[in-house]
């Protein structure tokens, strides 16, 4: 089948081309860059809200973009089971749109943090983690200043198994040193109840080619491969 993915460009998105590059040139599926006011969900099997600073992150990361018509289109996709991924600023947009639980606050370091971290797979039954093993550790970079995950009902997240990724040490230990921004319970990514919407702060598109990885691996690509697998398995 011909899979077609939309990568939404909000004013101020800046990882839109990077995600499109990985989908088109590394994985080899069709991904279109679409300006947020022109996005129509009908043509697409899935969509990605990329990283960046939509509307400058003015007021709060993701809040202004959450009102964009593109987000309403994404909601339609979610309702009929198609996959939607939010990376970094995209994650902020998905929480502000209330498609995902919680909120992303200013890092407790009070600074922008650009570095490679390690995340552990907590739930491998989502549209974006089904090609990973549970508890698998992945090398991936972060680059954000508002990434401290907060939610006032953690129990609900655990009960519903909505935590997808957690920050851990190289060896897989959950501790404060491996938490780059002060996120509750080291949470790096969550999903919705239906498992077709995932948001995460780290950047899988920057960890999908060996040449870019200080660890010479391509762990990030598993997210996109999971999406492709999810789309294919649903069609069959």
């Amino acid at each position: 089948m011909n899979i077609r993915i939309a990568v939404i460009q909000f004013p101020g998105s800046n990882c839109d081309r990077d995600a499109t590059h990985v989908l088109n040139n590394v994985i080899g599926i069709q991904a279109d860059l679409i300006w947020h006011t022109n996005f129509k969900e009908r043509k697409y099997d899935g969509c990605i809200l990329p990283g960046g600073f939509s509307f400058g992150d003015y007021l709060r990361g993701g809040i202004i973009a959450a009102h964009s018509p593109a987000v309403k289109e994404a909601e339609i996709m979610l309702k009929d089971g198609r996959p939607v991924l939010g990376i970094c600023n995209g994650f902020q947009i998905l929480t502000e749109a209330e498609f995902l639980p919680g909120a992303l606050l200013r890092n407790n370091t009070l600074k922008f943090e650009c570095k490679w971290v390690h995340i552990r797979v907590e739930n491998n039954e989502t549209a974006f983690s089904n090609q990973m093993k549970k508890k698998e550790i992945m090398d991936i970079p972060i680059a954000h200043s508002e990434g401290r995950y907060f939610y006032d009902n953690l129990k609900e997240l655990y009960d519903n198994d909505q935590i997808v990724f957690k920050y851990v040490s190289k060896e897989g230990l959950l501790n404060e040193e491996s938490n780059p921004n002060g996120s509750f319970d080291n949470i790096a990514g969550v999903c919705n109840l239906e498992r077709n919407c995932v948001g995460l702060m780290p950047h899988p598109e920057r960890a999908s080619e060996e040449i870019l990885s200080p660890f010479k691996n391509t762990h990030g690509i598993k997210l996109f491969n999971s999406m492709v697998n999810f789309i294919k398995s649903k069609v069959i």
């Binding site: 004013p11 101020g12 800046n14 990882c15 081309r17 990077d18 590059h21 990985v22 040139n25 300006w35 990283g51 960046g52 600073f53 509307f55 400058g56 992150d57 003015y58 600074k111 922008f112 943090e113 650009c114 570095k115 970079p141 680059a143 200043s145 950047h203 598109e205 920057r206 080619e209 040449i211 870019l212 200080p214």
Partner: protein
């Protein structure tokens, strides 16, 4: 400053009586008040280069002598052809004075300005670099405040616009205490066909102003930048602009998309001098003219006068020269990105810049009058204190070597700069192949090709202070070594000259010597100078304090083939370590002198251009052959610091036998701590030693095999007058914790 008037209006201009007379006679009448403002701005040091121009002539013309140079000095950015229709634009600028009083917005708008310089060549900006200078940091809340907010300003602007900051440099020295330096560089990539000249060459084209509205902010910003920072600056304060990276991001996308249509014939950003500078340069260089009404310009505040509109330096504005048939397409693009615009008027062949306010003419002159300001020949004189300084002796050593090295590795100028580059998104764009800290330069891939480019920028201000000619040559060599260390070849240079008041003969001497040093060395290496920027008046008149001369060099590296890219960390125990290049008795201006003895003098390093060139060629060749595994050039603190830096990332040690590794005339401390330029530490593949040595001997390079990499986390130094060990974990901790402890802690 003289006051001029016309029709009852007056304005203060920073022009000499002679210049005023000349302007009147060229024009054949008294300039209108807005014209006075334009002459004032265009005649400022910043715009006219009136002091520096005679010296900058020492650089050979780049476009004529190098066939791959597509744009050289005089354009908004230098542009080089890297083959297969791709070209690279790059440039460096200073934003020192605004940053000294408002570090956050000063630095941020500096980034904004340099991005526009790249953008207006029609290229997409893909990387930033930031060479910085501050006063000493420890126990100095002013320097800490400046560093904190300069870094935040650069981070917020670069990160938001999605342009990675791939490298930079920083030095801390008391001379920058009241005059910090914020230099910013930008690199752009594009197709040769998209190159947009800053020229309006064809009558009938439309001039379209696009971007933010024009306000009263930053009127006379240029004149401000060209004046010494004194008490006077207090009242100039509103001259610092507010940064708006989000608008800039939209302008970048709209501009790149517009350029791709093929309908843009000329493009110019509005920087110093605002609309008056942009419109006169576009038409002046294009041999055309234009007429427009200032009321077409969209303003942010009501009742702005023509003078204010023409001279406002409001940020984030561009002027497009659009082919008539493409106007509608271009305006549609601006609408998509919701960037405001105004079609000002049509280019004509009058060779006149004519601006009206409804029926009244406010400007009517030949635009070339504004760009040809007469030069001023400045006096130069070597300062008398230099002789004593250079003869300063190294005090008797009382500390042990290991203690000295731990102190050096923890010192401000040598310690890790990770606290800075962590705050920069250095990976956005998925091009960053060698990232901050992994190598001496930032290396980027050009997606869709097997081409790689790199950038590195800096200089050693302490060396330049003692000997500006050799110091500037040393800067070219050091930055070139940074490029070569990662396997690329330096192909073009831009520079940013930061000096004191040019009206003072000693300050001007420093400038003059540095330019000579730069020009001589790049000529020797066959590297074209494709652009630059001069910042004078970095001098505190009240305290009589001048900055150390700082000729920042930026080099662009290029190579085809991923296999050529090499990084700094030691790779494997058992591999031998070589020191290439000769160490001389050159402790002058060294970190050893400054950190351990708090002295600035001594004999500064002299450069051997010939052996450096042969070393570069050799390294590029052995790297191609795959004989070497890691490379790092020797810089501040001497070669043991270099070895430590290579040992940290993979936590590998080294066993060094230094017997017979240096000239008998040298003492051990001179050998260990001299900062002789053009040296490298190289890890050679153990299986390729023979081939490596054969090739190095064939090239007649000075080299020593100094030891071997070991698993143990120690650097063992043997066969000096004292044997000693350095613990890698202790050194690494000192290296990494210095900046965070000062900036987050209580020092």
């Amino acid at each position: 400053m003289p006051i001029v008037e016309n029709e009852g209006e007056t304005v203060e201009v920073d022009l000499t009586e002679e210049e005023i007379k000349k302007i009147k006679s060229l024009l054949g009448r008294d300039p209108y008040i807005t014209e006075w403002g334009m002459f004032d701005v265009m005649g400022s040091e910043h715009c006219s280069y009136k002091s520096s121009r005679p010296k900058l002539k020492l650089f050979e013309p780049a476009e004529e002598n190098y066939d791959y140079v597509l744009a050289g000095p005089g354009q908004d950015a230098g542009v080089v052809d890297i083959g297969d229709d791709y070209c690279i634009a790059f440039r460096i600028e200073s934003h020192n004075h605004p940053s000294a009083i408002e570090p956050y917005h000063g630095a941020a708008t500096g980034i904004g300005g340099i991005i526009r310089d790249i953008l207006c060549m029609g290229m997409r900006p893909i990387a930033l670099l930031d060479p910085l200078r501050f006063g000493r940091l420890k126990n100095n809340s002013h320097s800490q405040w400046l560093l904190k907010y300069v870094v935040k300003g650069i981070a917020d602007y670069g990160n938001c616009t999605g342009i990675p900051t791939i490298g930079g440099e920083v030095e801390f020295d008391h001379s920058f205490e009241n005059n910090c330096l914020v230099n910013v560089a930008c690199i752009g990539v594009g197709k040769v066909e998209d190159l947009a000249p800053s020229r309006a060459s064809k009558p009938g084209d439309y001039a379209v102003l696009m971007g933010n509205s024009t306000g009263r902010d930053g009127i006379h910003g240029v004149t401000f930048a060209s004046r010494t920072l004194t008490e006077q600056s207090e009242s100039d304060r509103p001259a610092v602009q507010i940064a708006d990276p989000f608008s800039k991001k939209l302008i970048i996308e709209a501009t790149v998309e517009a350029v791709k249509t093929g309908y843009i014939r000329g493009l110019k950003d509005l920087g110093g001098g605002g609309l008056s500078c942009a419109s006169s340069e576009l038409t002046g260089d294009g041999g055309t003219g234009i007429e427009f009404d200032v009321n077409k310009v969209f303003t942010r505040e009501p009742n702005m006068t023509p003078f204010e509109i023409m001279l406002s330096e409001s940020q984030e504005r561009m002027m497009f020269i659009v082919k008539a048939e493409g106007l509608e397409t271009i305006l549609e693009i601006f609408k998509k990105y919701e960037t405001p615009y105004a079609v000002l008027g049509k280019i004509n062949n009058s060779k006149l810049l004519r601006v009206k306010n409804a029926d009244k003419i406010v400007v009517e002159l030949d635009p070339t009058l504004l760009s040809d300001f007469p030069v001023i020949i400045r006096e130069e004189k070597r300062p008398e204190f230099l002789n004593d300084l250079i003869n300063q002796k190294t005090p008797e050593r009382t500390l042990k070597f290991d203690g000295i090295i731990y102190r050096l590795i923890a010192s401000e100028n040598i310690c890790s700069k990770e606290w800075i580059y962590r705050q920069y998104d250095h990976e956005v764009g998925v091009r960053s192949v060698v990232k901050c800290g992994d190598g001496d330069s930032g290396v980027l891939r050009i997606i869709g090709t097997n081409k790689f480019i790199s950038g590195s920028a800096g200089c050693n201000s302490k060396h330049c202070f003692l000997d500006p000619y050799e110091g500037a040559k040393g800067a070219v060599v050091e930055i070139g070594c940074n490029i070569v260390s990662n396997g690329l070849k330096p192909i073009a240079m831009v520079n940013c000259c930061n000096f004191g008041n040019p009206e003072k003969p000693t300050s001007f001497w420093y400038f003059s010597e540095c330019v000579k040093g730069m020009a001589d060395s790049i000529k020797f290496f066959n590297i074209p100078c494709v652009g630059g920027n001069v910042s004078f008046y970095n001098e505190d008149e009240v305290l009589q304090k001048v900055i150390k001369p700082t000729p920042i060099i930026m080099l662009l590296g290029y190579i085809e083939g991923q296999e050529n890219i090499i990084t700094l960390p030691f790779k494997k125990a058992g591999n031998p370590i070589f020191l290439i290049g000769e160490t001389k008795n050159e402790l002058g201006g060294s970190e050893y002198h400054s950190v351990i003895y708090n002295i600035e003098g001594g004999t500064p390093p002299k450069v051997n251009l010939d052996s450096t060139k042969r070393t570069w060629d050799f390294l590029l060749e052995v790297n191609k052959k795959g004989y070497i595994r890691s490379v790092h050039d020797v810089n501040k603190g001497g070669f043991l610091i270099t070895i430590l830096e290579m040992s940290f990332p993979n936590e590998l040690g080294a066993d060094l036998n230094l017997y017979d590794c240096f000239d008998k005339d040298l003492t051990s401390e001179q050998f260990l701590f001299s900062e002789s330029v053009g040296r490298f530490i190289i890890e050679v593949d153990a299986d390729k030693i023979k081939e490596f040595i054969a090739l190095i001997e064939k090239n007649k390079l000075y080299f020593k095999e100094i030891g071997v990499i070991i698993e143990e986390m120690q650097i063992k130094i043997k066969r000096l007058e004292e044997n000693f060990n350095l613990d890698i974990m202790i050194a690494k901790n000192l290296f990494n914790s210095t900046l965070p402890r000062i900036m987050e802690g209580d020092m």
